[in-house]
Symmetry: C2
Subunit: 287 residues, 2 copies
């Protein structure tokens, strides 16, 4: 593929998402791509895969950061804040820092506060791509192809930075790029990502769901339980940091399934068919 | 592909499932495959696709039925009973009749009662394969490949018939074939198929789910809402005829999602992580 980009990039955290970024940028970027990870084996693996030029441990993160035009932070919320804090004076003048977190909460305010009037600019980002398995071994640039991406600038971000990021993200395969406030992002994501995860977990934990049903599973159950294979540490942090919106989404869903239950209970076919038609129609609109 | 079967087959109802059966048998069977459908265009289409040798309208169903070793009834529950009633004296001596219905209820008893001591033997079957779209144009023999199949014999079925069906079903690509009573089938299917459909409908009908979320949808929402594109006539009949087991499955699921809500509400991380670990573990076991 043609190298249409020439910047130096540091990716912090070479898991599924960080690793996929490394792959995607390696293909289009002629500049350096450095990786930072706490796990030495992961760094070796990434180097062997030739998706990074060099790997650095946590404590030497400043070495590539000092030279990078773009720093992508692909670690857990609390770790992300810590890295910025530790490197606040190390970012290159004019560098852009972004994250990949599924929930923004007040993290962006905290980070922008830490950075203050320093050289670098932080802009929140959320690649809506993933897999039910975590870790570098599952990374693939293909997960970004045609996927949705959300940019969450604040008043502190320059318009030029937002435009630059939008262009960059499009270059590695994302299709629909939305620009909303961090709070609006969290409200929407509670419905489109956290609620489906809560549903998948609830389905798997339902009474009656055990090995005995294995050979009776069709596509609907398989699809709906897919994301139940979850990373509890990460998702607990994500759920808790979006408590307000997630609880609202769960309540709305509970009302909705109670409607179906009531229609079945009272054998109200007309009501049930209307529910089915509405859902079907809405699904069609969202495709 | 080698023709490893030589029987004459009538398929009643050339929709998604009936059409897929026609395709699958056409590939391995050197005998005739006839199609019966109320829609003349569907019959023409199936003939053009060369997946049936000849098509018959509803009123001439007796013509192919009289000559068929196997009759597959792939229409709605009430229509299935009617067809058997109308053709009770037309079935060939020793013929096997089977259906494809997702819910068995007391249909099988009713049908076996109608057939009485006549020539043909009815055995219930449920191919756990499908698509979110219905109709012949979506039919594909591939949907059977590796899918689950449930046979629901009663005391009235001969062991030889059960074995014969099991072998036949395996020949067209199904993998795990389970043999259970019609009642056990309905109990399990409430959990593995009807509940996931009720969930998908509820997700789509949740407040907050509308066009505005379109660009914020990731894989989890897409997968979990897939089957919300539903056939209301069929699924209303399926839901209502399995009322008891479906309501139980919904109740169990409601308890399960209430657990998650309570853990988030009280910010009980340990509880939430345990819920996530359990779900993840169970998902692993069912894969």
């Amino acid at each position: 593929m043609q190298k249409i980009l020439d910047i130096d990039i540091t990716i912090i955290g070479l898991g599924l998402i960080g690793g996929s970024y490394a792959m995607a940028f390696k293909e289009i970027n002629s500049g350096h791509i450095w990786g930072v990870d706490t796990n030495e084996n992961t760094l070796k693996k990434a180097a062997n895969m030739k998706i990074i030029d060099e790997g650095y441990g946590d404590f030497s993160a400043h070495i590539p950061i000092k030279k990078s035009d773009l720093v992508i932070i692909a670690v857990y919320p609390q770790a992300a804040v810590k890295i910025i804090k530790n490197n606040v004076k190390n970012f290159k003048k004019g560098a852009i820092i972004t994250d990949v977190l599924g929930i923004k909460g007040n993290n962006i305010d905290v980070i922008q506060e830490i950075l203050g009037e320093h050289n670098a600019e932080f802009i929140g980002g959320h690649p809506m791509a993933g897999k039910e398995s975590s870790g570098l071994e599952y990374a693939s640039k293909d997960i970004f192809n045609g996927a949705n991406y959300v940019l969450t600038p604040t008043k502190k971000n320059k318009k030029h930075t937002v435009d630059y990021m939008e262009d960059l993200i499009r270059k590695i395969g994302f299709k629909n790029i939305s620009i909303v406030t961090p709070e609006k992002h969290d409200e929407l994501i509670a419905v489109t990502s956290q609620l489906p995860h809560a549903i998948a977990l609830s389905l798997m934990n339902s009474k009656g769901v055990d090995k005995s049903i294995k050979n009776f599973i069709g596509g609907s159950f398989k699809d709906e339980s897919r994301v139940a294979k979850i990373n509890p540490e990460l998702w607990c942090e994500l759920f808790m940091s979006n408590k307000k919106f997630l609880l609202k989404a769960i309540c709305d869903f509970q009302e909705s399934i109670a409607d179906i239950k009531a229609a079945v209970e009272s054998e109200d076919c007309e009501r049930l068919k209307t529910i089915m038609k509405n859902a079907s129609l809405k699904k069609g609109e969202l495709n």
